[in-house]
Subunit: 373 residues, 4 copies
């Protein structure tokens, strides 16, 4: 970044709902005290990016630079910027950061309920920050890390591809599995074999489940589910609900799964999941990030008589990302998160990236803002 | 009980689904070792008794002597019978007992899941024991307390009317409130002002809720709700769902209830309750004891984004009854459970008792097998 | 505050360890944006103030203005200052505030462990802020509420005397009882009848304990313990440890207390408390705020074989004060926290205030910086 | 077992405290309805057996047949005997069983506290049953499985040596790790590298700890600790307490272990462990099975200010053994519990077996009642 001539960043921008992504030049920020500039390496393409492009999320501030899960190298630091252990963030460090920014620490949800994911002040890089506020999304050569952004230097031995292979599904799945409070020796069912579901499988296994059953499609993802640790995979496209129920009961001495985790995005998965979890079990709902309407649920049979514990999981906080990265460093040799990356695109092919996600062809597509090497 | 002439007991019997209750003579049991004979004072008439008479519960063993919440005086004891503290049960003691009997202590649910309410061996006095098995329901002059029945002598100062005024709703509500894990200073919403809901109000208050809101009807029950500790009552018959939502939000700084407990029996209460609980709150479903079909629930808005914890509560175990009785002894001066009793009937008027419950005229109707004094 | 002449505040200052308190004139602050000026009404005199005067706390920044539990009226506000619900703080409001200030929200303890009481950045009004940093203690006519101080307007009907009668022991006891996770119908033992112990008794009762036993002295405090809700009080000065053990076992069918809370400050209370809690019970240690050395504990008999859960409780966060105030508003009619105030002193008699606490003559002494009315 | 001639069993018996073990002939039982006869394959030699021989446990019913962790083959069944899933136990099946027998299911601890390990009726094979009551310990050719003994057929693929390699430390460690409630990505410290400590290491790893540190001795056990999953081992014999503290802090960014588990049996480990766990962490005490006296603990520094959670763990119930066996079946390929067996003895060399345990020469010694193959 020497001289005035390079102080622009190319960025892929969604101009408006349903408009194709286009590449624009956006000025680099004047760093405030406590800010940093990130030279991007990888940004994720996730289902939420598709929903943003399709105009499905309320209050999206178009034009928007997508990209909320990111890895890059620190290019510039202004003033004191540190990680949670108080170590200075330095130029040249490879880092990721929490997309959630600006949690206030002063409201009822932050201070009394201790539910910071419900803080009304929270902003999200690549989702609720618009392009007019600056380089605040990862589909860009550079990202502006504002003061207070929580930055995590990648620990020794952890590759950028491993982190971005997990993507935003990594801390989301971590949160879901953590909140599910799995006990050792349980049988865990995961509904959905997209990025969140696949990381749920991995974490359920690492957390001590004795058996993991996955329901999903297509075959490429079922193969990935097995690699991530599923003992039994059920093909959503090739089975009926009754067949899936028979298979789950057969695998659990007739009781159903001790814990089930919904990570499918399909409302219909919820009543099916309630039928597949055992009496007194736990059912965690993490995949319903977009409103696809209501489904019929029987309160007597599926909640009350089942004595079930249903837990909604919305968003993540810093702890989930921090601890998920620690787990990757220690256990990626068993999981291989980087193998989830099936497609890479540069900024000029961001529309193709969205299409690869939409079609289900990709397990995980990533944007390489400086070009696919 | 001297001589052969008294060895029959009058009992009110449901002969078959939808048939009127009739009084029959049933022989008194030969007590086995570890058994006792209870001379009844009060038996409850609860909504489940109505459902039994209407044939709404699967696998009911007609003919049946109803009555699963009971108080009486020990008439005879055979061999060693003791309470949980190991004190001998003696003739002349006034007692209640847990209707659930025969939990096996040997199956996967008892031993591994530690969810004894799901034990397949459990039997329930007045519900799953039929009249052909003996005097195993409380609408009778005498009840046969088989070996292993958990008997609780009423502690000093606790009246029979107070215990039966709580009825089976007392331990059920205790379980629901206990499982709701209310924190001090929370606002708790209770949906339903029948016997379970009214005891939920009382226990939520005793457990440290700062405010209790009740939704119910008719006026007589709303008045009772206030006496049991509700700060705000909303008349289900005189308000729309939107009005109730406005009232709950107004009472909670716009957030909704921290904890809501469904004790209404109406499936429609469940989606409404999910709209009334705050983000990150807890919703306990205890009132759906009969299958009244499915209702539409939106997994995105009502579970996932709400980050809610939904807990089904089925049945009770001994601890709930034991601890509920301890609470009555200590705190009934604040609650006045005996005031819930609005109607008393003898065995010959059991059909009228059911009608008083069906019509909603009664808050709590009781059977006095030896006559209404 | 009209004109230059009144821009000094009288404040009671501890100049150095073991030196008598003296009254000094301290300049009023220039308020920063987000700050407020509090005209004091009541400040507490607590055991920690005595320890500060005696030089028992490490790293105390003498000279020091004590006073960490405070109530006053907002005199001036600069810029946007709001409570946790986002409502503006306004001149003329009667408020209290959290003494803990400056929790960073950026360190490992704040973000990963979610244990903000262990945040290394936290400062405490009246304890870790010295007089040279300004009017940051309550034994003063005015207090400087820096930006970020968490202010709570007293809710309608809650008197200043009630809040200061609870003092810093109020949120501390709230935290201890909250962390003890008392179940309804338990017997709770509280060791210590100073301000923390007395509020523990009140909250244990409000939280659903069926019986509360208190151990303490002298008689004046035992009388207060009964008024706060203790069913049984044991005089520490008039009983042996064996007699106390006999009394606790007699009150618990021979088992010991389900939950015990140490709020005595005496190390010897800890092994005694472990002997008084039942097998499988919970023992919360909240009273050991100063290092008085080690005591012998038998790991086999008092921890392992007892299957006990021992919980240390250090400090408070905002939620504890917020929720304690809500509880006071709702339930003070049962408790009467203001009755704990036995002594009032003006700034010129601060040394007498400390002596009243040291001697145990006072239950609760308060400083009235503008004079005792 | 055809004919009268074989109806005796050779068994190793401790005749009295401090007397050498001797082999006796004990008659085989007449099986009651619901009982079974087990032909033994392996019985464990554990530290408790040594304490029994040394007379260190109160109320031991000498003469005694030791052996509370056992694997064998069902030789005979009388009447209906089933596992927790209701499947009949059949002759020829290889099984283990829970040594705890006779939990009453009727007392306050079983029913109200739900703490069956505190049930006063519980008996333990090889510990609280004396030889005069029959073949109720595993150092014998045959064991009498009384009605109600909880029997677990070894699942397919799980070898007898793997189960006995875990021994009684397997479910004990499972209970300790389960009760420690480890969160993913934590650093767990295990004090002690005997059988309980080694299984704690394995389960902490399987439960999602990111790092496991072990303190123990001698070298053979430290090598085993590494094989079981420890990342860092500290030699108790070659380090000072200060050196161990430096090492633990260095491995945890200066904070100490998130969770520490005491499995050493030495009282001095408890204050050291409290110094090694971080503020707000959890400390589980499972190794103090015998009374070795008191140690000094500082309530201010080591409990209150540390905000620590200390959990005593006494005994096991069926769920711990059941779930531990499920974990072995699934994960033994990572752990290799059978490799803990270092010594095998027949009944005639039981004294040598005890000596191998006493000297610390053995990690795990087993008795092969029919001879070492």
């Amino acid at each position: 970044m020497a001289g005035d001539a390079v102080r622009m960043s190319r960025a892929a921008v969604i101009p408006a709902p349903n408009a194709p992504v286009e590449v624009r030049e956006v000025p680099l920020p004047e760093l405030e005290d406590g800010a940093a500039l990130l030279r991007m390496e990888f940004s994720e393409v996730c289902g939420t990016d598709l929903h943003l492009q399709q105009g499905l999320l309320a209050e999206t501030p178009y034009p928007l630079i997508p990209g909320h899960a990111n890895v890059g190298v620190i290019e510039e630091v202004r003033g004191a910027v540190a990680d949670v252990a108080g170590r200075a963030i330095e130029c040249g460090q490879r880092v990721t950061f929490l997309d959630v920014h600006g949690t206030c620490g002063a409201c009822w949800f932050c201070l009394v309920a201790k539910a910071s994911t419900r803080c009304p002040s929270r902003k999200v890089y690549g989702i609720t920050y618009g392009a007019e506020e600056g380089l605040l999304g990862g589909w860009s050569e550079y990202v502006h890390l504002r003061p207070g952004v929580r930055i995590i230097p990648l620990p020794e031995g952890l590759r950028a591809e491993t982190v971005i292979g997990g993507g935003c599904g990594l801390p989301t799945a971590f949160h879901a599995v953590d909140r599910s409070d799995i006990h050792m020796a349980e049988t865990v069912l995961v509904q959905g074999t997209g990025p969140v579901g696949l990381s749920c499988i991995a974490f359920a296994r690492l957390r001590g489940a004795a058996a993991v059953i996955a329901i999903g499609a297509p075959q490429r993802r079922l193969d990935a589910a097995r690699r991530m640790g599923a003992d039994l995979v059920l093909d959503l496209d090739a089975t009926t609900a009754a067949q899936r129920r028979d298979a789950v009961l057969a695998a659990t001495e007739g009781r159903g799964a001790d814990t089930a985790i919904e990570a499918s995005g399909s409302p219909a998965a919820v009543p099916e999941g309630l039928d597949l979890v055992r009496d007194g079990g736990t059912y965690t709902v993490v995949g319903q990030y977009t409103d696809h309407g209501a489904v019929p649920i029987n309160p007597h049979l599926q909640i009350n008589k089942k004595h079930v514990d249903i837990r909604g999981v919305w968003g993540i906080d810093y702890s989930h990302l921090h601890r998920a990265i620690v787990m990757q460093q220690r256990y990626n040799d068993r999981v291989g998160w980087e193998r989830l990356i099936t497609h890479r695109f540069d900024l000029d092919h961001a529309n193709e990236a969205l299409e690869a996600v939409r079609s289900g062809e990709a397990i995980k597509a990533v944007i390489c803002p400086w070009g696919v090497s």
